[in-house]
Symmetry: none
Subunit: 182 residues, 4 copies
Amino acid sequence: MSAALELISEQGFHKAPMSRIADKAGVGAGTIYLYFESKDMLIKTLYRELENEIMTAIQKGYPESESFRERFIHIWTSLLRYFIANPLHFRYLEQYHNSPYGVSMRRDRILSKTGDSSIFIDLFEEGVSSHTVKDLPIIMLFALAFGPMVFLARDHTLALIKLQDAHIVQAATAYWEAIENK
Amino acid sequence: MSAALELISEQGFHKAPMSRIADKAGVGAGTIYLYFESKDMLIKTLYRELENEIMTAIQKGYPESESFRERFIHIWTSLLRYFIANPLHFRYLEQYHNSPYGVSMRRDRILSKTGDSSIFIDLFEEGVSSHTVKDLPIIMLFALAFGPMVFLARDHTLALIKLQDAHIVQAATAYWEAIENK
Amino acid sequence: MSAALELISEQGFHKAPMSRIADKAGVGAGTIYLYFESKDMLIKTLYRELENEIMTAIQKGYPESESFRERFIHIWTSLLRYFIANPLHFRYLEQYHNSPYGVSMRRDRILSKTGDSSIFIDLFEEGVSSHTVKDLPIIMLFALAFGPMVFLARDHTLALIKLQDAHIVQAATAYWEAIENK
Amino acid sequence: MSAALELISEQGFHKAPMSRIADKAGVGAGTIYLYFESKDMLIKTLYRELENEIMTAIQKGYPESESFRERFIHIWTSLLRYFIANPLHFRYLEQYHNSPYGVSMRRDRILSKTGDSSIFIDLFEEGVSSHTVKDLPIIMLFALAFGPMVFLARDHTLALIKLQDAHIVQAATAYWEAIENK
DNA sequence: TATGAATGAGACTTCATTCAT
DNA sequence: AATGAATGAAGTCTCATTCAT
């Protein structure tokens, strides 16, 4: 899986044939099929693995009893810091989302409110009902919150900008002002 | 080109082999090569075509002499409206940006400040130097501005939300508050 | 035909598609088919044309009434000089001989003793029956005579050697000694 | 490789598509690419293989300590006998030399005096410096020596003549007289 | 008579997957 | 359980030839 992660992140799906993944992992090509039914399954399993790791990272130090604002900023900055610290993970997720798997998965999840993203949904619902954030559809809040973050992470990953910690806090604050209900 | 647009937008690059594009266009497979040197060239040419169309759409009704805020909101909403009106175009651009072409092009452009995105860059530079928007690196402002918009457009395209005009204005305003220098 | 000659000589058959030939000739692709039934026919016709030209060149100044040796050396040097003066023609003939056409044509001709090479055959038969040259099968004499010449012409054409007139005469003489009946 | 040898020898490069070679070899089309990077590499590797085999054949029974004449005739007749015994090899080499690969290789080798043909070059240089053969450029001697042999081999291969051993010796002797310094 | 856009068979090559070892 | 050689469908692209204009 880590061989697949490296190859796909760095070169994209179509430059990561199973044979190369096997080579990089130091195993035979057939061996992969003992653990994964198909390339698709490998890709999906790897995706879930990363997702879990990310959720764990976010929950670490989560200020359960602080204000909504604090909790929101914690999540937002944790996520961005995670992506900056793990650029391969970020690039993999991007590749995944921009593929047939990703699109259908995204739709399924959001419509059924399942999956790990439900944490975010819950948070936003609390924010709306407590009039702490603007009264907008959850999905819009979601887009407004994570759109900038993904873009920042991408620019950083591509080395177009070198995000300092100060930038991250600035961005989180700026973004908070966008959704805050004043 | 419109056959390519449809297939690639709806199914992704790797489900759009030249033979299917040709079929959909109602021509022989070889015919495409009379007009495009290679599949790559077809993809790039189509990209530029769409980009031009978008720039035209944005410039229509541009309030040249209005305040910075008005101009900014004009561009932001025009772009989002364009994507909502042309979901295939939007999805095509997304596919393109998430591919080897897109990544290298993006880097080249931003670093060399050429290409159509220079319009945005100019606008932001004006905003920063006139202290109308926060003093952040241009790329961050860019990410903060277009990140949410792309996410909104994506959600709309995937029918996860049906953006009304009211939503668009709300989002533009919310976003303005995020970058505004108060 | 001269467009075909140039392209095929310089780049080989497989880099001389009909479309390029037409372009170089300044006509439409279809126009060629008004004058030649197919690419094969074009190639064959061009071959015959060159062959005729060569036979004409050889016969010019042919010392009809001189000794066998004089006549032989005349033919041999004329031919080599022709190839040196017309490298494109030489390269075309080489390409042709090394192709399905060439091989079958060669066999047909020699077996049926038709075609222009019958001139050479007649000459050699005279030489053998008059005991001027060694008593070897005609085909062997042919090979012994034209093998070196073709090699010399090839080396000259490829710029591996720059044949001076002195060389040509030396070679002709040397070769004469090989077949001469002493 | 032997499937490629047969097809290319008998039908030429362009009637030997990879699919036919694979069929003839009784393997799948992709299998060839496990052993050869490309069709070009297959062709080149096969060429080198044959060349090695030929050099081995020539060196067998080489009369190291005999006179120049003996050594020269040994090489010449060995080569011709090899070609007669292995007509497919001969035809393959011919095809190869008459192709983009062959032409550039030939030029490289002769100019840099590398490759197996250097054996011949050394021999001729000895002959010239010891005044045993005529004082002509090496390339000319080369052409004078191997031109007839190639032609004879070709005629035999095409079944235009059935070379007996006596013929071979006659031809070698005749040729020796052409280059001998008298 | 001339054109040249259109065709589609066929070329080379890649790669997810299988299976005998 | 592990291997990796073999497979062959599918992909991109070329080009001799046709035919409506």
